[in-house]
Amino acid sequence: MSRLSSGGLIDRATPLAFTFDGRSYKGFAGDTLASALLANDVRLVGRSFKYHRPRGVFSAGSEEPNALVELRTGARREPNTRATMAELYEGLEATSQNRWPSLAFDLLSANQWFSSVLGAGFYYKTFMWPAALWEKLYEPAIRRAAGLGRAAEQADPDSYEKAFAFCDVLVIGGGPSGLLAALTAGRAGARVILADEDTILGGRLNSARTAIDDAAPGAFLARARAELSALPNVRVMPRTTIFGVYDGGTYGALERVGDHLSVPAPFQPRQRYWKIVAKRAVLCAGAFDRPIVFGGNDRPGVMSAQALRTYAVRYAVTPGRNAVVFANNDHAWSAAFDAADAGVKVSAIVDVRETPPPALLAGATARNIRVIAGGEVIATSGKCLSSITVRTRGGTETLQAEVLGISGGATPNLALTSYFGGRPKYDAALAAFVPDQTPPGLSVAGAAAGQFSLAQCFATGAAQGVAAARDAGFAATPAPLPETGDTPTSLSAFWHVQGSKGLAFVDFQNDVSAKDIAIAHKEGFRAVELLKRYTTLGMATDQGKSSNMAGLAIMAELTGQGIGETGTTLFRPPFTPVALGALAGHHREKDFRPTRPTPTHDWARKQGAVFVETGLWLRAQYFPKPGETDWLETVTREVKAVRSSVGLIDVSTFGKIDLQGSDVGVFLDRVYINTFSTLAVGKARYGVMLREDGLVMDDGTTARLADDHYVMTTTTANAAKVYQHLEFCLQVLWPDLDVQLASISEQWAQIAIAGPKSREVLAQVVDAPLDVSNTGLPFMGAVEGRVMGGVKARIFRLSFSGELGYEIAVPARHGEALTRALMAAGAPFGITPYGTEALGVMRIEKGHVSGNELTGQTSARDLGLGKMASTKKDYIGRVMAGRPAFADRDRATFIGFKPVDRAQRLRAGAHFLPLGAVPVMENDEGYMSSVAYSPTLDHWIGLGFLKGGRARIGQKVRAYDPVRGGDIEVEVCDPGFVDPEGERLRV
């Protein structure tokens, strides 16, 4: 065990058992998987992406490139989980990734011996030919060899949800600057949200022993946490990562509600995706300790110097028996001192600087740490690190070391500042990019702004807290700054040990080495964006948080340009990976989108209806009866019942719009191609609406109930679109018209009955004195009255099926009762409920256009409706519909088809070709839009668009359908297959 005997923020009273690769271990509450593994001397935790090199824990935070594991098992198995962010829980099961047959002995680690050919651009260069081999050979082989964890193969059993939050000031990160910013804004009365990806607030203060106000940092942290949780206007959100910044002060956040539990608590989601809207935000996300590039810098046991400190101080773990620190900056020394003070044996500090500050030298002496100034680590050895080779002016020397804490300086965690395209600027004194332009409303404090010392963090956090609160309208004064001895640190820019031994890694996760940067340079991929894509630098799941900087610096050295001129690639959200399940939230499976049942849904279900989704609606598609073997048999029975007697269908899904006002007639004349101002009260009319470009938008019937009161119906699909269009016309085009709209789609259930017996059925449900005789309610009549003994109703004599028909509208709550009443009244006639399929068959038999024809590419003339267009008025789309191409005789227009061999089946989507013509686009004459088996005619019939249209009635063409292997002769015919004169409607 490498657990120190005392210290740390772990709860030694709460031991937790867990397994890694099937072996059992113990840790404590407060551990991460990474700290618990290190405490159990597990230093090899994974294999790298490309070369399968053994890797250990590098960091102690969300930037972790190496320690990726599969967490949990079965349906909850989650690949590529950073062990440094996985909180330990009782029974945690983790498995290493990308190794076979075992982590310790991995056959594909042989890849690394071929690193000389597997370098940058390897895939581009190697797999160019023959192309046929790509899918069969290369890709499967690469996919097996490269890669990370395996996704679960079962559906995720956990739930996820979305939530919304609003605040004056959002503080991103709860370290020293974030605490001061939140305290300052919170005390001023602003609504504050303080979000931190960690379990506990404090950031680096949880890992440091630096005195604050002459006491251990824990005392300050306890005060700050207590005050923040006592302020009613402050909301602290731990385990919450702000992963994106969006327009208008909107921030995306992921709260890991149940990730620290084996399964989420009952009725709790696993994760919650927050949309936070903040008037102001302060980014206090700290900085990353970046690696130095040298041969063997990826060996398990090499970690960042600050991670060494964190494991020692926060988790009371010594990550190896003998620690050496290799750095170029003061901050790494204080990490070494804290680690040593916590009980880690730190034997040496190797600093590339010839003369480190005297205070640090004194500190090292006091702790009996040997200092090698002006030294560089040039090699490492051991499967897990056992020794390092150091080059000094005097020569080389080998030191025993199980841990090497490396630090090339701090890289501000400024990703969020560049999500709006803001380019960070290079600060040579800090050897770091610092924020320049930030998204509107976002400012930066602390280490994220390059203010690395504790004192600077406190000061800038408080100052930005004041500024943010003031911008949000609150008078604020900075919170008093805690006293700390931590002063600005110095460093000497240093990136890459020249002439070291073995592969020197820049990007650990994507196995990009210094040599790859050199290849990119040599081959001309020098601009940072090209460098990134050619080498994959920074493109792994860690997005190069710790690695990018050294890559840019090495390229800058090679080109001779400065780092500032070389620049940096920009960051994009999400800051850390976000599960798609979290983004979907509630909207999955049955709740993927709302399901809208019709008013008669329950009744139809009890009748055994098969339902179909039409948009969000669920409609009865057909009503199979026992003994019927397929849908066609059912639909055929339903059609025959309507044509011979009477049938019933729920048409409530049509859009229904109430129009009232003195100008409704004028208005309708302007939005329909035909005239409605002259429509008599008590009558309905079929209307066609165009878009302004002259193409048909929608059709439907509109009835006039009173001089100043009309009711419009739209197709189911276009209900919302038509309403929006009408509002556009009224608000934007003709704001002076006196027309008031109201959607009544939901208010009225509408049941259609059709068939020669429909009047007899209807007559039995209407209340006196309503007269539904042929004279009382003629074809296209519309009346208001009562049905079923007092229920108000609107009755329209309309027909889509071609039979005598009525649509009866009643308030939705009565829809089912009306249906039952009609079924009872129609029982003597064998009234048959029918669904959308039978409706579709009958409209095709009648040659009516529907959704398949109203494609948004068809004009009224194309649809055979050109004669409806009034020439006496202007209307939307009139001028553009007059363009010559619409009148071209060769334009494909609406017409009917039947197979020459009546036994053959038609297929919608088939294209028409002249008989004998080769099937090429030049010979294309149109296509079949709708087909049905006609029970009335006992053969397949079709509707479609054919060049020349009606002029070709009687001709034969080829219906060619290569997708489904169809190629038959069809005869062009009138689209009115059944009762073309409409006599049945008027009986």
Binding site: S159, P269, D591, P594, T595, Q660, L741, A742, K792, A812
Partner: protein, 204 residues
Amino acid sequence: MSELLAEIPASALVPEGHYGPRTPAPGVVAAQLSQLALATVAVRPNALDLVAELALEKLGLALPHGPRTASAGDLTLVGTGPRRFLAIGEGITGDPLLERLGHAFGKTAALTDQSDGQMVIQLSGPRTRDTLAKLVPIDLDPSVFKAGDAAATLVALIPVLIWQADPAPIYRFAVPRSFTPAFLRALVGAGAEFGLQLTGTGRG
């Protein structure tokens, strides 16, 4: 999807009952209200001042300015857009409501019965705001959205009208009839964490 809802058809109202952990008192009480009549009131052009006078005179009601509510006795008007209101009458049906509004406003406003088109769902209980935070994309903090405030917005892809009926707080939603099953699913999924009592939707 919450496991709670896995067995309930997406097309059916979520049955009344208790959802979530058993606590001494439910965190959220949701009730689908009946005995309400609803109508849209669309004021004709240039008639708003007149309608405001008529509302005061005939209904004893100050017409709400903007997205707010105004109540007098059993009648509430909710502002839903410029010159547009949703009228809600408690304890009556659509026809008498329309009659009453017609009597008050005459030809100055278009009236349309919506009593069957919108379901009204009421939320109360100590965890109401925590539940609403998972549903409503607007700021319902009491410093921003107060009793008498209203908003038309989108909840779980469903167009709704929400208003705060009481500082307690009590909120009400008007939800299009066909969207009510989907709305209840989202509501129960969000509120179950706090213990949600649902009434008024039947036994399923």
